[in-house]
């Protein structure tokens, strides 16, 4: 009997009696991170990393039954040793390591390999079976070092400033927003949408060293925004509020911006290929480092990536999950905000 199975409720550990990132309500949801495609409302109990707790409380309710663990500390659930290792995806994101009778399985959730300046850097964990995402599992996705991308963003911001345009960066509220704030801090005042400000407050209370930002309120004058950098989530990028900002230049920060079609699709003024997911070389290096005998490939270019792994001698299988739709998540946040 395998330690994990892929069921219609989520990734199930029968021996432990819990699910990892389930999409249907269960008794215990071991949660890799707080993006809405990985954590749903309605589970009887949640177990996540210390820094994912503020996100869950913020999003699913302050009375949510959440237990937490730091990285690298194992607990036993029905005899299964469960521990978290950094996934480098967003603040608090974790790979879940399970060990039972010598068999080790790692469910990585979403991950990226490069250190982003704010999330604890990805740590490869040796295991027998590894569950990997494949969001950018095509060889066309190779990120530039983030220093270069932030250099591009900085010069874009100063160009906008010269042309008296407001710089509006479009980024997911959880993850990309904090990464931008950390790396652009000092360049100009940073104004953030409610959904981002709420998360930031939670992180700061939990002890994350996050630079100061200003919550956008109706009272803030448009002229004031023009001097700074504005960060909004994607669901807001085409909305009324954006149209009300005169002379705004929008820059979308997403791995999809690597490809021209992605840039034109968003019809943004600029696209920056900045992703919180591993690129092609990142996926391959992470997988090789686990020395796993079997790799389960989920959300993304599943069949392509899995086929390639098999061809290069890493046994792999495609599995169907409901992860990978981060746009849905943004819609949910906006409802709350």
């Amino acid at each position: 009997m395998a330690l994990i199975t892929f069921t219609n409720k989520g990734i199930f550990c029968k021996q432990g009696g819990f699910y990892i990132d389930p999409w249907q309500p269960v008794d215990l949801a071991v949660t890799t991170h707080g993006h809405a495609d990985h954590v749903k409302w309605g589970n009887k109990a949640y177990l996540c990393h210390d820094l994912t707790k503020p996100v869950l409380l913020q999003r699913l309710g302050f009375d949510l039954p959440v237990e937490t663990l730091p990285y690298n500390k194992a607990i036993s659930i029905n005899g299964v040793s469960v521990s978290f290792f950094p996934a480098g995806h967003v603040i608090g994101s974790a790979q879940v390591r399970l060990e039972y009778k010598g068999e080790i399985v790692v469910v990585s959730g979403d991950y990226k390999v490069e250190f982003d300046g704010i999330s604890t850097q990805f740590e490869p964990v040796k295991c027998h079976s590894f569950v990997s995402e494949s969001t950018f599992g095509l060889p066309i996705y190779k990120w530039k070092p983030q220093a270069e991308v932030f250099q591009q963003i900085s010069s874009w911001v100063s160009d906008n400033h010269e042309q008296q345009k407001t710089s509006v960066l479009v980024a997911y509220s959880l993850g990309k927003a904090q990464r931008l704030i950390k790396n652009l801090s000092g360049l100009a005042n940073i104004y953030v949408h409610n959904s981002i400000a709420n998360l930031n407050e939670g992180f700061i209370r939990a002890g994350v060293d996050l630079p100061e930002t200003i919550r956008i309120t109706p009272e803030i004058k448009k002229e004031e925004l023009q001097q700074g950098i504005v960060i909004v989530p994607p669901a807001l990028a085409d909305g009324k509020w954006m149209k009300s900002l005169m002379h705004a230049a929008t820059g979308v920060c997403s791995g999809w911006m690597q490809v021209r079609a992605g840039r034109r699709w968003r019809a943004a003024d600029a696209g920056f290929a900045l992703s919180d997911h591993a690129d092609w070389p990142g996926l391959l290096s992470a997988i090789k480092a686990t020395e796993a005998e079997k790799v389960y490939v989920t959300h993304g270019f599943v069949s392509t990536f899995s086929k390639y792994l098999n061809e290069i001698g890493i046994e792999s299988e495609e599995v169907t999950t409901r992860y990978g739709n981060e746009d849905d998540e943004e819609k949910e946040i906006l409802k709350e905000a």
């Binding site: 060889p139 190779k142 021209r260 992605g262 840039r263 270019f301």
Partner: protein, 531 residues
């Protein structure tokens, strides 16, 4: 090259015409002098011979990136553009050079005659010295196929603005025969080359669709009405004993239409006429589907000449006795044209497009209803005082088309788009009912808003039944109204018929798949057009 790469990036990041024109003006004000004519040539579709074939380029890129060919193919499906796919999959460049655009183009022309080994060495070397965006451009230089949303008209407007020269003159100049290596940008603007060239056509005068009621155009006495023929717009140029036939796509199509060659002996030198290439049999204009048998063929056999004989319906006279008369009023040009046509010895092939007589707009609206009976698409309204403008200008000429045919269909396949639409399911295949079966009748991709595309995309992802490479079979549930301009018999299609210019008119969320049209409905329509 870096400056050109910057221009392309600017053109691609905006969808506003003004931004694009500003980017072009800035480019032509600052770029290398020798580069400029090459850029004009590229944007107007003047392509040099392809120096290396695509299969080789693809092979080398796959080899160099160390991925299996199937994975390259998957990447290409996702990107939607071969040049860009190659630029992205290659390993990072080891160095960076900044050579001028025309130097790269010159080198590419040189290697065209070399053997494959030499070509490979050159290409691999180039790839290793260019960043991703420059590599993309370099690959486009090889394919010669730049599609970046710059129309001829937009380019002309930008050059006109940059050089403070009349846009007609620029259009004229860039449409003539010239080679980027043999002309300077200044000479190009001045049109130094066009006078010595016998063949040059004039830019076509185009019309906007009439959206308002025709009565808003004012008095009927100021207007001339003609049928809007459904063929290939063409210009016949006769200068210095030579005859040239140009199509609207600025292609020289003289050899495709031997029926019209007799005009060489009928039309005096220094004459340019504008009209419509049609199939005309026994004095009647045929459906476009008949003309289609004659298009884009290298050789024409006797059967084709017999089954789809060509005629030319003449609309206008642009050059007369060697003088450009486009700024004479239409009434005067028409008078001269009628005199000219009278001198022809044959009146079966080159025919004056008749003026439709009418006294009030209501009467004309009635006449328009009969457009399909003579295989026209509706009416053209031209102001009698109008000039023959370059391109589209609002106010003087209007096309007043009849409504397209429509059919309700259900979507059965979806495929990811290319270019801007890669990564979303945007290309759909539609079917009508044939008894218990669904039978494909059209493929279409345009006509939906981005928001609707996202909605359909989500539907496809949830309801995919089967997968064939990039194509998904989907549950036949979404009903779309497809508009089309014509219908023809087709042996290649399972339905036995093909729709012309099919596009999505509306997403019929109010209809169920059970309510769509049947194949029999379309067969009846086909029969009615062939009477």
């Amino acid at each position: 090259m870096k400056r050109f790469a910057q221009l392309i990036a600017q053109l691609e990041t905006s969808n506003k015409t003004n931004d694009k024109i500003a980017a072009l003006v800035s480019y032509f004000s600052t770029a290398d002098e020798q580069d400029k004519p090459y850029v004009v040539a590229m944007f107007t579709g003047k392509r040099p011979r392809r120096p290396v074939n695509t299969a080789l380029i693809r092979l080398w890129a796959t080899e160099l990136s160390g991925i299996p060919p199937w994975l390259f193919a998957e990447s290409y499906h996702s990107v939607g553009d071969l040049s860009e796919t190659i630029a992205l999959v290659l390993p990072p460049a080891s160095r960076n050079t900044d050579r001028k655009l025309h130097e790269w183009i010159g080198d590419l022309a040189m290697i065209a005659t070399k053997d494959d080994e030499a070509k490979k060495e050159f290409i691999l070397n180039a790839w290793d010295s260019l960043d991703t965006q420059e590599r993309f451009i370099f690959n486009k230089l090889i394919s010669g196929n730049f599609r970046i949303g710059v129309s001829n008209k937009m380019l002309v407007n930008a050059i006109s603005k940059q050089s403070d020269t009349d846009s007609n003159k620029i259009m004229h100049s860039i449409m003539g025969k010239w080679k980027p290596g043999e002309i300077t940008y200044k000479e190009l603007i001045e049109g130094a080359h066009v006078n010595t060239d016998n063949s040059w056509p004039y830019p076509f005068c185009l019309a906007y669709a009439l959206e308002a009621e025709p009565s808003s155009l004012g008095g009927t006495e100021e207007w001339q009405a003609e049928w809007k023929w459904d063929g290939i717009r063409g210009q016949i140029v006769k200068r210095n004993g030579e005859l040239f036939i140009w199509s609207r796509g600025e292609e020289l199509v003289t050899d495709q239409f031997p029926e019209l060659h007799f005009l060489k002996d009928e039309i005096p030198d220094g004459t340019v006429i504008d009209g419509e290439i049609l199939s005309v049999k026994d004095g009647a204009v045929q459906a476009f589907s008949i003309l289609q048998q004659r298009l884009n063929r290298k050789t024409i056999n006797k059967a084709q000449l017999k089954d789809a004989p060509i005629g030319f319906y003449i609309y206008d006279l642009l050059e007369f006795e060697g003088t450009d008369i486009r700024t004479e009023p239409l009434s005067e040009r028409r008078r001269l044209l009628e005199e000219l046509v009278l001198t022809f010895s044959d009146h079966q092939v080159a025919i004056l497009s008749p003026v439709v007589a009418f006294t009030d707009w209501d009467e004309l609206a009635e006449i328009r209803k009969g457009s399909r009976e003579n295989n026209s698409e509706g009416l053209m309204l031209k102001k009698l005082s109008s000039f023959y403008h370059s391109g589209r200008k609002r106010g003087d000429w209007w096309k007043w088309k009849i409504n397209p045919y429509t059919v309700d269909t259900v979507m059965i396949y979806a495929q990811k788009g290319s270019g801007r639409r890669a990564n979303h399911f945007t290309d759909y295949t539609f079917a009508v009912r044939d008894g218990e079966q669904l039978i494909t009748v059209a493929k279409a991709y345009s006509g939906l808003t981005d928001k609707e595309i996202k909605e359909v995309d989500a539907f496809v992802k949830k309801n995919a039944i089967e997968k064939f490479g990039p194509v998904r079979t989907v549950k036949p549930e979404l009903v779309f109204e497809i508009a089309f301009e014509g219908i023809a018999e087709s042996k290649r299609h399972k339905a036995g018929l093909a729709l012309r210019f099919p596009r999505i008119a509306r997403w019929r969320k109010d209809k169920k798949a059970a309510e769509i049209n049947t194949l029999e409905d379309l067969r009846q329509l086909l029969a009615s057009t062939l009477l």
